[in-house]
């Protein structure tokens, strides 16, 4: 078992820091324990059980830092890794961006751990996958899916007294269900901290329904359409944008957040007024660690308010250079939405396209954040508030910045991927070509 309690982790870290002779020493200790099952063609293809733990030490003399890692935990090995890091620090060039270590910080206890998830066994996984296979076999369809669970802990300590610890669990499930003729495909994915929320039977039924419903797709002309993006599709495309909320690259002039003539677009109305984006590690639906990798407390942060960019992420170095407070970006982005369900969004649409998910999204132009990619596993034409027929997949070329300017309505947010994302109705979404892929 590679999962240490807070006290066990603290004891090892204290010992390691105690071995240090350098000016400064930072130590991190992490472990994970988990397993997975992968299946395809209605049968298990691979399965595994993996347990790991590792320790990293960074030692600094002046502004010269060396780091080393190890995964043995007897006293001799722990001292050896500290000496190795110190030896490297002496050989290293000075790092002009070295920041003095943080002192003790206060962090609230996160909500990322769930005991039921931590207790999962190979039999639990086989049973959950068995339910999914039952759906596809009974319906005469083919399923390919992946179920994975993990328990992990992460802790850091430094020679100035900082200590942080977090323990978490995760279970994730995804399944693609296809008909035997290869003319229809449906998909669903979900992840939770709490196993009790994961219903592989219900999720597989949704994927099976989409597989049947998407068979016999018609081709319609590429062009600009009103789209309803399911939360997964919206999450797929927006994840690329969040990585751009970095102050340094914006200040340096090489980001979509850079301003013509210099400076950043902080404070500008970049999106529609109904767009509000924040992160909060204590959110019950999508909890995350309450501290960042370098030991900064992570707090609720408003990134966009009524379409105006309110904050950019500042590393400790860049914050010191710009004379502002450092602000870590957080996992678990939350986009506020409304109360409408996906079905209600469809009902309110005269003509449009429902997108289950996107695939192979790549940046085309970092200047405008133009992305390309394709729809996949269930794309449908909507007319007069009803799904009329399945349509062939499209390639899109669109910027999420433009997309969030064209928001017509947002539904009720749901946990998807690493965010809490609403279904979105977007006008003038640009599809540029058709794909025959199913």
């Amino acid at each position: 078992m590679a999962i240490l309690s807070k006290e066990e982790a603290q004891a090892i870290l204290k010992k390691v820091v105690g071995f240090s002779k350098a000016d400064f020493c930072e130590v991190s200790l992490r472990g994970s324990d988990g397993g997975n099952i992968r299946y395809a063609r209605n049968a298990v293809s691979t399965a595994g059980q993996i347990s790991t733990m590792s320790l990293g030490v960074s030692s600094t003399y002046g502004k010269k830092t060396g780091s080393a890692t190890i995964n043995e935990f007897d006293d001799a090995s722990l001292e050896k890794v500290v000496r190795r890091a110190e030896e490297l620090a002496m050989l290293a060039p000075e790092n002009p961006e070295f920041m003095p270590l943080l002192g003790p910080q206060t962090f609230p206890e996160s909500k990322t751990f769930n005991a039921n998830t931590a207790a999962m066994t190979p039999d639990t996984r086989a049973e959950m996958v068995g339910k999914s296979l039952g759906v596809s076999k009974a319906a005469g369809l083919d399923a390919a899916g992946f179920l994975e669970n993990s328990t992990n802990f992460n802790s850091i300590m430094n020679s100035k007294g900082l200590f942080a610890y977090n323990k978490g669990t995760n279970v994730s499930f995804s399944v693609t269900v296809r008909n035997k003729q290869g003319t229809g495909s449906g998909y669903i994915e979900q992840d939770f901290n709490d196993l009790a929320k994961m219903d592989t039977l219900a999720l597989s039924k949704i994927a099976a329904s989409k597989a049947n419903g998407s068979a016999g797709a018609k081709a319609i002309e590429p062009g600009k359409y009103t789209v309803i993006l399911e939360p997964l599709a919206a999450s797929d495309i927006l994840g690329n944008m969040f990585r751009g909320f970095d102050a340094r690259s914006a200040d340096e002039g090489r980001s979509f957040m850079s301003k013509k003539g210099g400076g950043t677009r902080l404070g500008e109305q970049l999106f529609s007024e109904n767009v509000n984006i924040y992160s909060d590690p204590m959110n019950a639906e999508i909890p995350s660690s309450t501290w960042s990798g370098d030991g900064l407390p992570v707090k609720r942060t408003q990134w966009v308010e009524k379409g105006v960019v309110k904050n950019l992420a500042y590393s400790r170095f860049w914050a010191s250079k710009k004379g502002v407070e450092p602000l870590p970006f957080s996992r678990g982005v939350i986009i506020e939405g409304g109360t409408q369900s996906l079905a209600e969004l469809i009902k309110s649409t005269e003509k449009g396209i429902l997108v289950t998910r996107f695939w192979y999204i790549r940046s085309v132009d970092p200047q405008t954040l133009l992305l390309t990619g394709l729809t996949r596993d269930g794309t449908f034409y909507i007319e007069n508030g009803e799904i009329k027929f399945p349509i062939k997949n499209f390639r899109f070329n669109e910027s999420p910045v433009i997309m969030l300017n064209n928001v017509e309505a947002l539904g009720k947010p749901v946990r998807t991927g690493s965010g809490l994302i609403p279904p979105m109705k977007i006008r003038d979404f640009t599809f540029t070509s058709l794909s025959d892929a199913i």
Binding site: R38, R41, L88, G130, F146, N397
Partner: protein, 544 residues
Amino acid sequence: MKRKDFLYLSGMGMGALMLPNLSAFGTPIDPLQALDGVDVRIKKELADVALNAAKSKGASYADIRIGRYLNQFVATREKQVQGVANTESYGVGIRVLADGCWGFAATNNVTKDAIAKAAEQAVAVAKANAKIQGEPVQLAPQKGYGEVSWKTPIEINSFEVPVKEKVDLLLNVNDIALQNGANFVNSVIFAVNEQKYFASTDGSYIDQDVHRIYPNFNVTKIDRASGQFKTRNSLSSPMGKGYEYMHARPEDKVSGIVTRYKGRYDMLEDVKEAARVASEKIKAKSVEPGKYDLVLDPSHLWLTIHESVGHPTELDRVLGYEANYAGTSFLTLDKWESKKFKFGSDKVNIVADKTQVGSLGAVGYDDEGVKCKKWDLIKDGVLVNYQAIRDQAHIIGLTESQGCCYSQGWDDVQFQRMANVSLQPGKEKLSVDDMIKNVEKGIYIIGDGSFSIDQQRYNFQFGGQIFYEIKEGKIVGMLNDVSYQANTQEFWNSCNAVCDESDYRLGGSFNDGKGQPSQSSAVSHGSSTARFNGVNVINTARKI
């Protein structure tokens, strides 16, 4: 401390914590020992423990991989070193067949007891899943090779080159970029050494020492007044070579509108041109969308080959094993069975080759003990074969695997990965200049850029690094905002010229992702410059 220790240690672990994607755990060992590898006699003893333990628990087949994976990553930006990291990962992965089902377990505790326990755990996993298993696994026979070894033919071990030499080179690269007008520059040298030992109940004990290197940079030019910025990446290829790759000779350079490289790479020369090109790109005109004849340099075409030929000819994708992640393939079995599916024009001959010297995918044996080879995938434009591993061979009537099984580490299960897949050079003498002379309205594309393809590998869109407009047989200037879209089969059928062998070069990727949990593998793709007529080009400029 010996000099060699010092050189190795001078990079050991620095910045490792900044590199979350690199496996950062492993047993503490003497640096010199890490370079020289573990004694094969010890590895054989450990392997036999695993194989015997698995058999005694009821496995009908078992294999073990004992791996030590060394990575070195030296990264700089502008005038400073961002990080120097040596990571090392050492452990064993055991795969078994029991009750007709695969099971796998891994441990970083390389002791006889822990290995025996992992073997038993692998059998237990197989038996647990056999309860929900469908058709039992059918494994192609494989003869045992006894005790054999293979090593990447390198001249200089990258890990023995002092870190200072690499740092000095990269800072020099950055200086040249900044002196030639770049505002920002990042440069990196990434080196890999996989010390892999494989043993199986077939009777093979295979010891391999695999080396790869990837030098690259990215320069950015900014025009503050207009708010424009443009980048250009290096035109290097990652290679299955040692540090000799960094010592370019005149014969390794391909002259033309920009210098490209074969065999060895001149990073200093390339960055000077990159800075110039990035500045030119700021002023280049935006492309008029429409149909163009595309002249594609191997530094670009490798990626198109990878996505539109390499992946769809993987048999696991054809069969549906990747349906939930990377997708399936339009090259279904009926197309192959027809023996007349016209994948491309008559000019299109594509081979899979795990033995190609200098390539990223070159090994002596794959990760299930199959000796590597070369075979045809597309012959005179017709689909003739796939890429398969042992548990798929029977499906396409093969009596043995084609040797395409690979795992990114000892702690990941091996599964089907792409061989080096390459377009063969044209049989008639044809230079790039001769090819361009025959283009009325075209675009010459050098270097890889944005890439996206659908889940069955029909519809794709590719960008690039540098785009030159061709009018009436001449290059007339540089273009911006170019991407081309096509359907794979139409695209390869529009291929009407391939330059001869003198222009043949390798490109490739260090990080081809596939599988769940996702694994990466390194693979090369060779070609000569090729022409594709009447391809749809779109303009990607937008305003936000």
